[in-house]
């Protein structure tokens, strides 16, 4: 088991000079995942925050091979790279092995890129798909995505006189991915890099596709103080809003169980996207959120306990 010191002392694949927002958790997520790879990596990046801030021509913040094509096809591009690797290895043209990683935000993963992701998982390309999940189209200014939670105010589903914000719950991407019978899928969060590192390591070691959904609070569009990113990530886990768990060969394992679950308000308060929920007339929304979070947690506990293969 690596220590945090060992992880941070590794050479960085994403170096300083990128232009991510102050308080953004994407760089440590990316560096932690890549540092868990024993092999060289090649990265296919979907259009999004990470892509636009790390490669402003003629500069690049990447010291690993990296490609961006468009928004919805990181999984397909990664599948192409992996296929080329297999072809070269078969022909004896290359002897090194490589870990191929596709990275996208939630828009490029839950929504527009879902088809490419599902196709690549079904064909079992050996690659890792990473979604840094900031729960909306943050690169374009806080529009709703399939990952946006119930009750969040976004620019395309704003709260208003007759609207509470997004009226649906978010898509459960990890279980949808697991339904493809992939060997490893996990949900992690930016505040627990050791957990993320261990999950990435497991993902790289399996024979076939692996998937990591990493919670990444967005300081800019959730409207909170940039120094609080890690705190909000931690609160997401402590309120069971974002449970840390993994699905290994279909079996659910919860990696963190809060001793005493904090109420959802703890996570919501201070975030601009949920500010409207604290008006008296929206009290029912918070109650409903709490109910949904509790029910989901109970379901997850039962899944773990039963040992049923998803």
């Amino acid at each position: 088991m690596a220590t945090i010191q060992e992880i941070v002392s590794k050479e960085k694949p994403l170096v300083s000079g990128h232009r991510m927002c102050a308080g953004c958790g994407i760089p440590p997520i990316v560096n932690t995942i890549i540092s868990a790879s024993d092999k060289p990596v090649v990265i296919a990046n979907a259009t999004g925050c990470l892509e636009v801030t790390s490669t402003i021509y003629p500069f690049t913040a990447w010291n690993v091979p990296w490609i961006h094509l468009t928004f919805e096809n990181a999984a397909a591009v990664a599948a192409g790279i992996e296929t080329a690797l297999r072809a070269f290895r078969k022909q004896g043209k290359i002897d090194t092995d490589v870990n191929i990683i596709a990275i996208g935000g939630d828009g490029g993963t839950y929504d527009i890129g879902f088809q490419a992701l599902s196709g690549a998982l079904e064909r079992r390309h050996k690659f890792m798909y990473v979604v840094y999940d900031n729960q909306g189209y943050m690169n374009t200014g806080n529009q709703r995505s399939g990952a946006t939670p119930f009750g969040a105010s976004t620019t395309t589903v704003p709260s208003g006189r007759v609207s509470i914000g997004k009226p649906q719950w978010r898509k459960n991407i990890v279980e949808i991915v697991a339904a493809h019978r992939v060997p490893y899928a996990a949900q992690a969060a930016v505040h627990n890099l050791l957990d993320l590192y261990n999950k990435a390591k497991k993902g790289f070691e399996v024979d076939g596709p692996s998937f990591l959904a990493v919670f990444q609070p967005c300081t800019t569009n959730w409207h909170y103080d940039p120094s609080l990113t890690i705190q909000y990530s931690k609160l997401a886990a402590e309120t069971n809003f974002w449970p840390l768990y993994e699905i290994e060969n279909g079996k659910v394992k919860i990696n963190y169980k809060p001793k005493e679950r904090k109420p959802i308000e703890e996570f919501l308060k201070g975030q601009g996207r949920f500010r409207h929920l604290f008006k008296p007339e929206n009290k029912h929304v918070i109650e409903e959120m709490q109910k949904m979070v509790d029910e989901e947690w109970e379901r997850l506990l039962k899944l773990e306990e039963s040992g049923v293969q998803l």
């Binding site: 010291n63 192409g80 080329a84 490419a116």
Partner: protein
């Protein structure tokens, strides 16, 4: 020694792909392209190629995976038609910007709506501004040879751009012809190996592909891409001469058929040029001075050469198998553009024909020639062949 084989246009293309033996082929079915990837899949299944083949979930992903494989250093191909090309449009636009030498056969088919699976050129004519080199093929023989040319053009260091090789849906793709196929060894030598300077799987030399270019650089990148596609013209001629030594055939920018003393010529792409040759022969027997111009390299368009050629004639009819709604038809537009600087402009007439696979016959083409020779032409109006009104 080349062998004669009875092949459909789709089989001829698959045969060229077998001989090229690409590292990666990504396939998604669409009529009438499907037999290309099916024939090739059989080569993979029989182990006669080294290719890793990915039967993928959409055309958008197909070209995306090909871009990934090509950037990784592989020779990578896919094939498409019509709606498939439309679905991959976004990546069709992006691939030339990344300067990747992808070869993609396209079997021309009408675009929806209404849905129609038969031949016209609306699909590829809609991609003219995107930066692919485009070569049109008259028959299975040309479809086969153009694939070999395309690979060399795409990978030429002065070009490094993707290339589309077109053939006509069903007419060429499904019709059987006798095709002269080169020896595998000859092809292998002709195409040699792809040796990219930089590629993603060279992990010791990391490189960033497809960055964000803002107003301070985007323009320059696009200008370089434009220079590259203009370079493709000379490369086409140069590589064509080399291929000529193997096949005995010529690879001009456009083919001239019985034009030496012609008064009226028509310009027609792909399989219609074959029909037109028969019409020209019959009319020549009757003493009419008529000929045919068949564009082969359509992007980059050889304006200067076309102008110098067309200046020799009195009247030119241009046959388009697609409509540019609200504008002059695509081939006609290019011919008009080519002639703008000329002091010796021939009279021009635009004809639209064959949409959605409607047949065009020798008699239709003869009528066009008769109309051209009669002087009854108007360069500003479009006429239609075989349309019920």
């Amino acid at each position: 020694m080349a062998k004669l084989k009875p092949l459909t246009g789709a089989q001829a293309t698959a045969e060229a792909m077998r001989q090229i033996n690409p590292d990666v082929v990504v396939a998604y079915p669409i009529t009438p392209q499907t037999p290309i990837v099916e024939f090739f899949a059989q080569f993979v299944a029989d182990g006669v190629v080294d290719t890793e083949m990915v039967p993928i979930e959409s055309e958008h992903s197909a070209l995306s995976a090909v871009v990934g494989a090509s950037a990784a250093g592989a020779r990578a191909m896919c094939a498409t038609s019509s709606q498939g090309l439309a679905l991959m449009w976004e990546i069709v636009a992006a691939a030339p910007g990344l300067r990747l030498p992808i070869v993609m056969p396209v079997v021309n088919r009408a675009l929806s709506a209404p849905i129609n699976i038969h031949c016209d050129h609306s699909d590829t004519m809609g991609t003219l501004t995107l930066g692919w080199v485009q070569i049109y093929s008259e028959n299975a023989q040309e479809a086969y040879e153009n694939m070999l040319l395309a690979l060399r053009i795409a990978e030429h260091p002065n070009v490094l751009l993707p290339v589309m090789v077109m053939q006509d849906g069903f007419i060429t793709s499904h019709g059987v012809e006798v095709v002269k196929v080169l020896e595998d060894e000859e092809v292998k030598k002709f195409i040699s190996e792809r040796k990219p300077d930089r590629y993603l799987l060279n992990v010791k030399n990391p490189y960033t592909v497809g960055p964000l270019a803002l107003p301070d650089y985007y323009f320059e990148v696009k200008r370089q891409q434009e220079v590259a596609i203009y370079n493709a013209k000379d490369v086409y001629l140069e590589v064509g001469e080399e291929l000529s030594k193997l096949t005995g055939n010529k690879y001009p920018l456009f083919e001239e058929y019985r034009t030496e003393d012609a008064e009226a010529v028509i310009v027609a792409l792909s399989s219609t040029a074959g029909t037109a040759k028969d019409a020209v022969d019959e009319m020549r027997e009757q003493g009419y001075k008529v000929g045919l111009i068949k564009p082969k390299l359509f992007r980059p368009f050889p304006y200067k050469e076309m102008r110098e050629t067309l200046e020799r004639f009195k009247v030119v009819g241009v046959l388009d198998r697609s409509i540019a709604f609200g504008a002059y038809a695509p081939v006609y537009s290019e011919i008009r553009n080519a002639l703008y600087e000329s002091d010796k402009k021939p009279k021009l007439q635009s004809y639209i024909y064959g949409l959605g696979g409607r047949d065009i016959f020798k008699t239709d083409i003869k009528k066009v020639f008769e109309e051209l020779l009669s002087g009854n032409v108007d360069s500003q109006t479009q006429r239609y062949i075989g349309l019920r009104e």
